[in-house]
Amino acid sequence: MEGPALDKLTHRLSICPAEFLSEPRLTGGEGVHVDAVVSDLMQDLGGAPVSADESRHFQGSPKERNWLRLVLVGAWLLHDEWFQQARTLSADAYGWLRLGLGPLSQLVSADQFVSDPDRREELVRHCLAALGLRPAGETQSQADDRLKTLNSVEREAVIRETRDQLERARKLREKMREEAAREAAARASRE
């Protein structure tokens, strides 16, 4: 289904207010109550506020700090009027905030999804894909291709694989030069 225009949403990210970039409240500490922000968002999108059980998912440990910050940035993005007017997106939006941002938050600082144009576009495209939408004016395959190009998680996997391959090639060549390998083994006939 066609969603909102990409530019409008990337612009929205670029003007993310300071309170959505503030420190989230971590277990037992001070800061923005991410669970409350998510709960407000759910209602603005036409859904129910989050339950007490669901709230606990958004009260993280220090290890989850970047993820909680990214949830705040995501919540800012989802407050766009296009999503609010749709009135049907709260469940998918909740799912994305709850489960879709983990891998990204492991690789990229939440600030970059505001300050870096490519990361802004990436976050918007991730968001639209999670809601089953494509940017206005794009075909599905254009949208898929562009997300693949920007995808930080896939890029990291490719880089890791390339690094692993180089390391494996180095070990292999080292092994082939080893004296013990060069001694070989007796063969009964000459090939």
Binding site: R168, M176, A185, R187
Partner: protein
């Protein structure tokens, strides 16, 4: 007491096997040993070698012009483990229908992209390597597994069995000598655990390798190997040295065996001479059978085809191998560099045999030093390879003189004086070696190939 370094080399050697090994090594007529090596076979390898022997003798599949479902399954599995397979086989390719479109692999891939061939999840801790002879000037280093080498033993047994030869393998005797005739090569003794600790020696019929020819005669005659492996040059030298031996069979490998030499060897040694086609990269591929034409493709785990320059099936073409048993070198339409025709014959029971006919492999060429001792193309290739050359053509004339034409690598400089000096030392100081640089060598030939070694000496 078996020393630790021998146990490292032969983890399964027994006291009896070690006793036999010492008796070969310390034999008063033994050659000058120049190398120490074992079979490196471990106990966990034995069931796999035995399973391979059973598959070979009991379930050998028939020949076919198309890859079997087993080979295709193996290729598909390898696609997820080796980059070269993934690159050559696009996602969704229909291998049954479009096999002929799968790009071929060649020696150059092993030389330059070995990390794309060795499966990335394969444990390389037991890897060993072999340098190929490189008589054409391009030697390559081939990774191998000791178990793979052990699996090649049942293949020799199978070839022998086709000729009615069933050796007795045990620590009480020598199974086999491998016989060569080169100026320089390794010479060693060993016992094979997959042959029940039977003895083995790789020997070289070169005067410098023995105290005297008489010692060589006694060494062969007393240790009495049950069969011989070797190349045609080594076997020809056996006759010339008048080695008194009656092997049950001779297995000829490495280069093409001419029919005239084969008949002479059979008459002289009164045993079958088996033509055995095997390369380091592929392992054994085919062997001659009694009375049959050409060579029968017999390993159960390879698919052999002959293809044209574009990789399409051809009536006569390059022998190309898929599959194999080397976990470090899975082969996907690997071009061997040798040429043949293929035929498929069906017997009364409907069993199809694939044969390689008119095999045009590396030709047997033998040179002589001034003192009459043998020199192999490998000896010369080893020296020439150190210089920056693209192609070469080495000829020994009937009068013993030698000419060498070299095509240097563009921009490369060849020190012909030191090269001539080294070759003169190989052939004996009096041998004149005429070296000529020819940047257009090979271009006058339609194929672009030259004959790298040629001898005009009488056999």
């Amino acid at each position: 007491m078996i020393p630790a370094d021998r146990l490292d080399r032969n983890p399964l050697i027994t006291e009896a096997g070690y006793g036999l090994l010492k008796s070969i090594q310390q034999h008063p007529d033994a050659p000058y040993w120049s190398y120490v090596v074992g079979d490196r076979v471990r106990v966990e390898d034995l069931p796999l070698v035995e399973a391979y022997r059973r598959a070979l003798f009991e379930q050998r599949p028939g020949g076919s012009p198309a890859p079997s479902p087993q080979i295709l399954d193996w290729v598909r599995a390898m696609r997820s483990r080796a980059r070269m397979f993934r690159r050559h086989i696009p996602e969704g390719m229909n291998l049954e229908r479009d096999w002929a479109f799968v790009p071929t692999m060649a020696r150059e891939d092993i030389a330059t992209r070995i990390e794309d061939i060795v499966p990335w999840d394969e444990d390389i801790s037991r890897m060993i390597v072999y340098d190929t002879s490189g008589t054409t000037g391009h030697a390559i280093v081939v990774p191998y597994h000791p178990r793979t080498m052990a699996q090649n033993h049942p293949l020799i047994e199978y070839a022998l069995e086709q000729h009615g030869v069933r050796p007795h393998f045990g620590p009480d005797g020598v199974a086999c000598f491998n016989v060569g005739a080169q100026a320089t090569t390794v010479v060693f003794a060993n016992v094979f655990s997959v042959w029940n600790q039977a003895g083995f020696a790789k020997v070289n019929l070169h005067p410098r390798g023995w105290r005297d020819v008489e010692n060589a005669r006694r060494f062969f005659s007393i240790l009495a190997p049950q069969f011989l492996t070797g190349d045609p040059m080594g076997f020809a030298e056996l006759m010339r040295w008048k080695i008194p031996i009656r092997p049950a069979a001779m297995v000829s490998t490495a280069v093409a065996l001419g029919s005239s030499l084969k008949s002479r060897l059979e008459a002289h040694f009164r045993c079958p001479v088996i033509d055995y086609y095997s390369t380091t990269e592929t392992g054994p591929v085919a062997c001659s059978d009694p009375g049959g034409r050409g060579l029968v493709v017999f390993p159960p785990d390879v698919f052999v085809e002959v293809v044209d320059a574009d990789g399409y099936p051809a009536a006569r073409g390059e022998i190309t191998v898929t599959g194999g048993r080397n976990p470090y070198l899975p082969l996907l339409r690997y071009r061997t560099g040798d040429f043949a025709r293929m035929s498929f014959e069906e017997n009364a029971e409907g069993r199809v045999t694939a044969r390689l006919l008119d095999l045009e492999a590396r030709e047997a060429v033998m040179f002589r030093a001034t003192d009459g001792s043998p020199i192999c193309p490998v000896d010369i290739g080893r020296i020439i390879r150190e210089y920056p050359i693209v192609q070469h053509e080495f000829v020994q004339r009937a009068d013993g003189s030698c000419d060498l034409a070299l095509r240097p690598v563009p921009g490369g400089s060849v020190d012909t004086e030191t090269l001539a000096g080294r070759l003169a030392a190989l052939f004996g100081v009096m041998s004149p070696i005429d070296i000529r640089l020819d940047p257009a060598l090979g271009e006058r030939m339609a194929s672009g190939k030259v004959q790298p070694f040629r001898s005009e000496l009488a056999v």
